[in-house]
Symmetry: C2
Subunit: 471 residues, 2 copies
């Protein structure tokens, strides 16, 4: 098989870190029936066509249109993705994993793709700065919102549309590519009425599970990352996740380990710590997927059991050894660690022998002559050891390299694991009921008609006396 | 007083969110004696000159040399800070708070400062990419390490020095500015022997508390941010923190609230969520300060009580409403939230009236006509309300604007609060014993002589059978 992502559970076992904090054979036996149940539930749902998200690796009809649209994008100096949350994190993870961190600073000729920006927030300073550096008339905007009505994204669109309309007039529509529901919503309507190029997000695929649809694949293609590689990686992982035994199915194992540590070992926090700068945004993507899918108040049957949901935290090796590691090693033993190891980097950088004075005398004489990759790998092993030595559970996710193919595997692995974890917790991993009220309040505060009562609530919140202000 | 940072504790009180999760008058009475003790301990230590970090706002001797060095930096196209953890996070926070997020993409003439980079990690791909986009011969490096022997930073230095030596020969030393211990360590020795421009970090000030020394102030000056504004902001906060009553002293209040929620209300996680893109790195800086200072195994007297340390998490509004908020609202009630509100942005961006079809029909007719700042502020209020409605404690930190002056206040506020929290927990906020073993292991793996036993341990860890690998 082409370079496989594998996971090593050795560091979560009681034989490695002791029975107080590690999984014993008894613990494994305790969760095994649940894992069997979940695996067969997933297989059954898939047979009935009810888990569309897991079938995405074989959906390839859009690829020609994506490739064609990507070629068109190269007529623009800048590509700006307007989207937030599930509409942006996947593309951001792809850009960061597959491109130079300084892509936008590379000379025009060497880049082979437009400059790439992801505009998520409605911070006026950010959007203003972005429009200065990437003027709308030189920019292609990919407006991404599954519902087609996300207030942040629509607001950004109205701002840039206004600028486009005044600068390029009737050609404004050529500066947009819309990715949204195939039938409904404001963006779909816009695409139809103005003839704007567009892609559909399959109705059964929620925003945070949509990276393997045009939501992630079109920006990938614009950036010169082959969507087929992403899908092939995902398809390979799909094959491996069809096994009902957790010792063979990496996603089932991941789900089971997270669930077991949360429920049996009091690890309410899960830390993903890649040792590669290029996976920082992947870890952010994971944090969204895990938090929004599993952080729930009750199970779908309405059983008001205690709220569930591990808190995902992203760290970055080796940087966070100088920031979070002290807490991880000596603080409360309330975390499960996933260290993501990358075994082949693109560049080789050697620490050269040196004539600088004092290197040997100051105890640094052994550093020259090694590769930076050796240093990074030594640091990773050292971190694993101090965590294990402090009885902290550590699972290791091994990537042969960071590529579109391995990233495709990772996306699929964690999506499958998240769905399985939802079934273990008896929560619906596809909804987000807790954030709907906030959206209604925001619209009310902005003056939506019919929302006067909510508007009154938000007004009175804002005007309540701050009797406990420290000045 | 010039624009003050204030904090509003209304949303953490039992009267707002109920007695199960909010602080009651009885809770406040319970922690009050501890707060009085801590405030007078800090005052006493300061009188005896033993809390140098809190006296930094009045240390201004370096400012002339910093200004002079900053002017020299403008002869270079690029400024690269080589440093990690406490050596980099403060400068990063300053750059992000005070400059355009696209500073490096602005035309040469408009920038008024070199392009700015912070190279933290020893990821070979990152350093290789950086050297391509910012070739050493056009670059000034600020090498920052308090000890002068940080392996990541020294390794980076050896790599760039080699390139400098071969490209600019004897002028290589002019491409470096060193910030390190005034007396000791490899970097100090290098500065002395090669006549490299350098700054000292006061010996009594640890890395993560050093942003108000040349560690943060020199990069600030290079970026065109006035160090005096940072110090003046900090000095103003210093004045406000001299009050022994927590209702007047914002740092004492912050420390007390965090401690009380951790110890009395089971909130082992503290989430800092600014509503401004420009404060993202400030929140990272806070996460380091809080985690590394307070995540400890025992108190200084050696009392092996349960390990302490809240896990700090950074979020970003409004983005994380589409990622983490579902968990925050509906998941376990184990978090204290600090929402950082910014009341004046630099840019004004209005959402224009539009002729786009369907805006009204799709229920978005109320959006045009508002400022993006209004939308961001509505979202912030909505988030506060749903959190409070779900009985989650929310404190609000109000900034009149993001500026060097308000950032100086924030740095000082959180440094003081962290020291006070250390005293409440009875831990030493200035050490990091849990990460020392990892450093020794790393050096051993890299071949330090005399470390053969440790090297053997790391080798056998790496070669242990992975009996629980899922392929």
């Amino acid at each position: 098989m082409r370079g496989e992502v594998t996971i090593d559970l050795t560091g979560v076992m009681a034989e490695e870190i002791g029975a107080a904090h590690g999984l014993s054979e008894a613990d494994l036996r305790r969760i095994e029936p649940d894992l069997v149940r979940v695996a067969s539930e997933i297989a059954d749902l898939r047979r009935r066509g009810m888990l569309e998200v897991l079938d995405l690796p074989s959906v390839r009809e859009d690829l020609d249109r994506i490739a064609e649209a990507a070629v068109k994008s190269h007529g623009f100096r800048n590509f700006v993705l307007l989207g937030i949350g599930g509409s942006s994190l996947g593309a951001r993870a792809i850009f960061e994993a597959c491109l130079s961190p300084f892509h936008n600073l590379a000379p025009e000729g060497e880049r082979g793709a437009p400059r790439l920006f992801v505009a998520e927030n409605v911070d006026p300073d950010s959007l203003d700065s972005l429009m200065r550096v990437a003027p709308p008339e030189e920019t292609l905007y990919n407006v991404v919102s599954k519902s087609g009505t996300t207030v942040e994204t629509i607001s950004q669109l109205l701002v840039v549309w206004d600028r486009l309309a005044s600068s390029v007039g009737k050609r404004a529509a050529e500066h947009l590519v819309i990715t949204t529901d195939p039938e409904r919503g404001f963006l779909r309507r816009l695409a139809s009425e103005l003839g704007i190029r567009s892609f559909g997000v399959p109705p059964g695929v929620g925003g945070r599970f949509s990276v393997l649809t045009p939501v992630g694949l079109y920006p990938a293609a614009v950036a010169g990352v082959d969507p087929l590689e992403l899908l092939d990686g995902a398809a390979q992982m799909d094959e491996r996740c069809r096994d009902n035994g957790w010792r063979q199915n990496p996603a089932l194992a991941l789900a089971g380990v997270h669930y077991a540590f949360d429920r049996l070992k009091g690890k309410g926090i899960t830390v993903m710590m890649p040792y590669a700068d290029s996976l920082r945004s992947f870890a952010e993507w994971f944090c969204q997927l895990w938090a929004e899918s599993l952080g729930k108040r009750t199970n779908p049957a309405g059983d008001p059991r205690a709220p569930v949901g591990q808190t995902p935290v992203r760290a970055l090796g080796a940087i966070d050894q100088h920031s979070q590691l002290q807490l991880y090693v000596d603080g409360p033993n309330d975390k499960l660690f996933s260290i993501v190891a990358v075994h082949r980097h693109r560049a080789e950088v050697r620490i050269p022998e040196t004539t600088l004075p004092g290197v040997r005398e100051e105890g640094l004489g052994h550093i020259p002559g090694h590769g930076l990759d050796e240093l990074l790998s030594a640091e990773r092993s050292a971190t694993e050891m101090v965590l294990l030595g402090s009885e902290r559970p550590v699972l290791v996710v091994d990537l042969p390299e960071v590529s579109a193919f391995s990233l495709g595997q990772m996306f699929y692995l964690y999506e499958w694991a998240t769905i399985a974890a939802g079934m273990l917790y008896h929560v619906n991993p596809f909804d987000q009921p807790g954030v709907e009220e906030g959206k209604l309040l925001t619209h009310a505060a902005m003056g939506r008609s019919g929302s006067e009562k909510l508007a009154e609530r938000i007004r009175s919140h804002r005007q309540r006396p701050d009797r406990h202000r420290i000045r």
